[in-house]
């Protein structure tokens, strides 16, 4: 069976679903951020797949590159916020972080 667009879309969809489950069920803030990374990767796989099988050229790849850049920025700021929350509350359980500052 030839590898087609659907194969890549299935992988992207499963990445997205597992990311969604991670974001909704984790209590650990770092775990939530990992879920966000999974969701962004699922979207990126779809971008590259549609670019290869539907559009041609490199526009989808450039879009995926921008997504990677923004994901890196999001990870840096998100983890800085996690560290700040840890300093304030001595835990990174997202249920207990309910104040903007002490």
């Amino acid at each position: 069976m030839q590898i087609s667009l659907s194969h890549f879309l299935i992988v992207g969809a499963l990445l997205f679903c597992f990311g969604l489950v991670t974001v909704t069920t984790r209590r650990n803030a770092v775990g939530v951020l990992m879920g966000v990374e999974l969701i962004l990767n699922g979207a990126n796989v779809n971008f590259a797949a549609f670019n290869h099988y539907v559009v041609g050229g490199v526009s989808g790849q450039v879009f995926a590159l921008f997504v990677i850049v923004l994901a890196a920025a999001e990870a840096a700021v998100g983890l800085a916020i996690v560290l700040a929350v840890f300093q304030t509350f001595k835990t990174i359980d997202v249920r207990y972080a309910d104040l903007m500052r002490e």
């Binding site: 030839q2 890549f8 299935i10 499963l14 770092v30 590159l65 990870a75 700040a84 300093q87």
Partner: protein
């Protein structure tokens, strides 16, 4: 003691499942493909397909590990597998520059950052680095609700596909595009990165309290 026994049983079961998977895959896919294939060019496509399934399985297994693992360090390892697999899938999609960017930015940058955050925010003396999850049933129901819809869309929709272009180096085209057609988003992305740099330092620094 029972926990250790359970762990050992789990590892044995996992190894048996993995071995069984490889054997069954070999019987079902690889051996018939080798037999049916006349020697020559077609062997390469068969190998590519097997490789695709292996890498897709690695990616999805890693993602499942992130979602289900009880230990956040194992979750980070699962994230490593998922990101590596996604990077390898880009190679299948003739996106070589994207694959290398994924490797450098995600694995070299984001994953290391995540590991740093794990190490800095958990007490290392605790043996099990906690990664408790609430409502695994809720998560399972969410998965059951969302996954079939997305899979059905991916499978049923009659996508208007083109014949994919042969694999070629994309770096030059992307570089040209970033400095002509996508110049504005490129510059905005650099501003965003600068703001991120400053913002992350400001947020994460230790506040000096005036007594």
């Amino acid at each position: 003691m029972t926990q250790t026994t359970g762990k050992i049983l789990g590892w044995i079961l996992g190894t048996a499942l993995a071995t069984g998977f490889v054997v069954v895959m070999g019987q079902l896919a690889i051996v018939p493909a080798m037999k049916a294939m006349p020697p020559g060019e077609t062997t390469a496509t068969g190998l590519a397909e097997v490789l695709f399934y292996v890498i897709a399985g690695l990616t999805i297994a890693g993602a499942a590990g992130v979602a289900l693992s009880r230990n956040i360090l194992y979750s980070a390892i699962g994230l490593l597998a998922a990101l590596l697999g996604a990077g390898a899938l880009y190679v299948f999609l003739a996106a070589d520059f994207l694959a290398v960017a994924q490797l450098l930015v995600y694995i070299g940058g984001v994953l290391v950052l995540v590991l740093f955050a794990v190490m800095l925010t958990n007490r290392i003396t605790e043996i099990t680095v906690s990664n408790a999850s609430l409502g695994l049933w809720g998560g399972a129901m969410l998965f059951v609700a969302v996954a079939p819809v997305l899979l059905a869309v991916a499978l049923v929709t009659p996508w208007e596909t083109i014949t994919p272009a042969a694999a070629a180096y994309t770096t030059e085209t992307i570089g040209d595009g970033l400095l002509t057609r996508w110049l504005l988003p490129f510059e905005i992305a650099s501003m965003v990165l600068l703001a991120t740099l400053v913002g992350a330092v400001v947020i994460a620094r230790k506040e000096i309290k005036a007594d």
